[in-house]
């Protein structure tokens, strides 16, 4: 394990934890601008988290210990995911722990714990949120796996870092299969991160909410961790997208420390572009009814399968 690899690993984890709320703040800012509103500060998510950490925690009387440990488990899995995803460099010591399939499994673990915790109190909203989250999950997960499979078939490996490395090496080759999967991935990202058109992160309206319904019973530090974990999840998904579709600018091994230094501003640029794009999608699209969401995700799934067939037919 080289010192450079270790530095990359530590930098990635720290950057993810620190930058995730900033990224969320940036998306919210862009959304406000696009909607002709005055934007909140980019630090607003931090303020929210800070405020929550200064409050007394209120737990429901019936809450079991599963409910109490879930925020830590969800936050922990998201940090672990951030450690596996190559956001700055491709030489990461922890990538041996989990390849892209295990990464999907890791995200599924977090989802399962969140849903179970939501059912723990026994409120109508909680179980409704859990049911809807699992519904979105079982539709989005295979789509995400198919997206990853296409990239894995192209680069002949399932390790996410190695995929990014091989794809970034082929600067001139254009893969039509990846175009299909990029669209599929965007839809999965929207659904998994509770964004419009699947869910609306800004409302607590019972007919529409999914993610927020699961968090209703959390307060103070638990809620802060859950919110932070949600921000990390969005950050992670954005970085998975970068690794698969725009891997250029990642620090490769031969580039040494200079490459790592250069990758930080590149990551920031990518995040700014992705955040603006996300805000644009959210502004121009309308919230779907919950039972329209499966159609959207089935489209994503079919696009990913189509991408795979295109790859196998054309070999590209």
């Amino acid at each position: 394990m080289s010192p450079l690899a270790l530095t990359t690993q530590v930098m990635e984890i720290t950057a993810a934890i620190v930058a995730a709320p900033l990224f969320l703040g940036w998306v919210n800012q862009c959304r406000a601008w696009l909607q002709n509103r005055r934007a909140p500060s980019i630090l607003q998510p931090y303020r929210g988290i800070r405020k929550l950490f200064h409050k007394d925690a209120v737990l429901a009387e019936r809450a079991s210990s599963l409910f109490r440990v879930t925020p830590y488990i969800v936050f922990g899995t998201m940090v672990l995911a951030a450690a596996i995803i190559p956001s700055m460099g491709t030489r990461l010591p922890l990538t041996v722990a989990a390849d892209s399939i295990a990464l999907v499994g890791l995200l599924a673990t977090a989802r399962m714990f969140m849903s179970l915790a939501a059912m723990d109190i026994g409120t109508a909203f909680g179980s409704l949120g859990a049911r809807r989250e699992m519904m979105i999950g079982f539709l989005a997960e295979p789509a995400l796996l198919m997206v990853i499979f296409v990239a894995a078939l192209i680069s002949q490996t399932t390790s996410l870092a190695a995929i990014a490395e091989r794809l970034s090496g082929a600067t001139l080759a254009i893969y039509p299969s990846l175009a299909f999967t990029a669209v599929a991935f965007t839809l999965v990202l929207l659904a998994e991160n509770a964004r419009i058109p699947v869910d609306n992160p800004a409302t607590h309206l019972e007919l529409t909410m999914i993610h927020e319904a699961m968090l209703l019973e959390y307060s103070a530090r638990h809620l802060a961790l859950m919110e932070w974990a949600a921000a990390l999840k969005l950050f992670n998904y954005a970085c998975i997208g970068f690794a698969l579709f725009v891997p250029w600018g990642l620090a490769l091994e031969r580039q040494g420390p200079a490459g790592l230094m250069a990758s930080v501003p590149i990551l920031a640029l990518k995040l700014m572009a992705a955040g603006a794009g996300l805000a644009l999608i959210e502004t121009v699209s309308a919230k779907l009814r919950v039972f329209r969401a499966p159609e959207l995700l089935a489209t994503a799934f079919l696009l990913a399968v189509l991408g795979m067939l295109v790859h196998l037919l054309l070999g590209a």
Binding site: E61, T95, L116, M119, D120, R131, L216
Partner: protein, 670 residues
Amino acid sequence: MPTTPLMGAALHGCLAPLAAWGLIGLAGLLRPHSVRFVGRILFPLSALCGLALAWVGLTSLGQPVAQLVLPIGLPDLPFHLRCDALSGFFLTLLGATSVGISLFAAGYFRHGQGAAPGLLCLQYHIFLASMGFVLLADDAYAFMVAWELMAVSSYFLVTTQHRLAEIRSAGFLYLLIAHVGAVAILLSFGVLQGGSWQFTFDSMRAAQLAPQWATAAFLLALLGFGAKAGLVPLHVWLPEAHPAAPSPVSALMSGVMLKTAVYGLLRVTFDLLGGPLWWWGLIVLTVGLFSAFYGVIFGAVQTDMKRLLAWSSIENLGVILSGLGLAMIFHGLGMSALAALALIASLYHCLNHACSKSLLFLGTGAVLHGTGERNLGKLGGLIHPMPWVAWLMLVGVMAIACLPPLNGFVSEWLLLQAFLFVDTVPRPFVNMLLPVGAAIIALCTALAGYVMVKFYGIIFLGQPREPNLAQARDASRLERMGLIWLAAACVALGVFPVQVIGVLNTVSQGLIGTGLADPAAHWWLLAPAAARGAAYGPLVFLVVAAVVIVLTMLGVRLFYHRRVRRAPPWDCGFVRLDARMQDSAEGFGQPIRHIFQPFFLITRTLPTAFDRAPVYRVTVADRIWRYGYEPVGHVVRRLGDVAAVLQQGRISTYLLYSFVTLLVLLALVL
């Protein structure tokens, strides 16, 4: 066939625990009504025998094949026994799983459940021993005797509460389909002997079959073993028989007995037929994938907890069969390294399913004892009165949902890795189909997560849906030990996959001649296709996740100094919250009913605006039962009615029949 004592040594080791099981069963008849004697002495002894069997099976893996002829059976037809790596592996599975189940059963069987405990003990141990003999049998005759013994003993166990009509009919359905399957297996052996009229497996291995006959033998075997494995459309007995049986028996049937079908299919296709044709694999893969999908969507709409698990077993057997199909495709096309990968994934899933499904079935038994309720609509919130069962079941639930770092994920990972080699398959047509297979596996796994959240959330979380649930009793000490054994197995299989694969490699080498190349490069890192850079290190994964979670907890504790208060749930300010406002089992299944509507036969009773007591009822039925089985049943009944005309019940009429028959025969002869 004479055998040297050395060759038989491993077999004697395997036979001793099986014989001990038989003796323990008979000992149950000594004091059939004493729960103390049966529960405190016999069942723990049986668990020890299971441990011994698992040990013997495991040690036999590295040894040469052992054969033995038992001088029992019909004259000139002695029982041939043989223990190779495949048998050894499944014996280990049987032994290790039975340890947990027997320990649980020691605390489970009580008075007032139909048959006396001693009698149950006899049936239970005959069932165990017969499964062992199925795995050791080396001629068709011994195999069929053991197979039938297994079916009949489990039939009696299923109908333990034979005073209930629905349990009798569930048992009958089970027996019927078991025998349809047995006939198919018998016919398959008939084809396999290939004109030599020798029914030992050795002569079947030696027989050279023409491709069409080999295909016939394979299809018959698939039908026969598929009926036992619960493959769609022969699955109908499974959701009836598993809930009817007492929980330890459900656990044995689902965890172990279904695997004997996998064993049989492996034995026939890879061993007796000497390797499959590649397109057989396509059939197995298709049937397996369809069963997996069909099982999981039906699991999602069930309202009975054991029925839900039974459907989930159909799903898991489907996944196992898909892996097997993939192995057959690769093997048939001469890609033996990939065949080994798919075969190992499939065998790994057998082990995983044996541990985790037994754990869940036993857990439902504990819930049933604690609450007296099987209906999901009347459970809830049991994590408070039954913490042991709840936390141990969480392990099983995560394992079935294939979540890392537990065992289910390892086999899913291996299977998906095998699917990812599609581009190397030399048939373009298969090339196009296999990715769809991978997609279906991914979908089924994700759906399994949905089913398990429903199962666990409704039983253990939320508010109790009935007032008496708060007084539910947790599992007794012996029951707990059984659950802990199986949960520990789930964790160990998940965290140390390299060691398990080292064992499975010998099975694969024995069966198809190759294993994974160098599976143990690192003892902690699973990298079956090292050239492709695919790696999964569950131990690193678990340790890092644990470290991160603990650090987060410590960090929060360091910076957070506020109190924790308990208060009524907030629920957006709603105050009159009660248990009926939670999702019911039907409600939780509703998205699945909606999305996969064409697969279900749904009947709804909707209330009108003028009803005094409005009722909403929805039932979900199986199309295959309605349009496949019921018409056949009608035809059989019709034929029976026609035949009944002959039965007049008067002796003179019967004499007339005899007379006419005699005349006809005389006319024919003369």
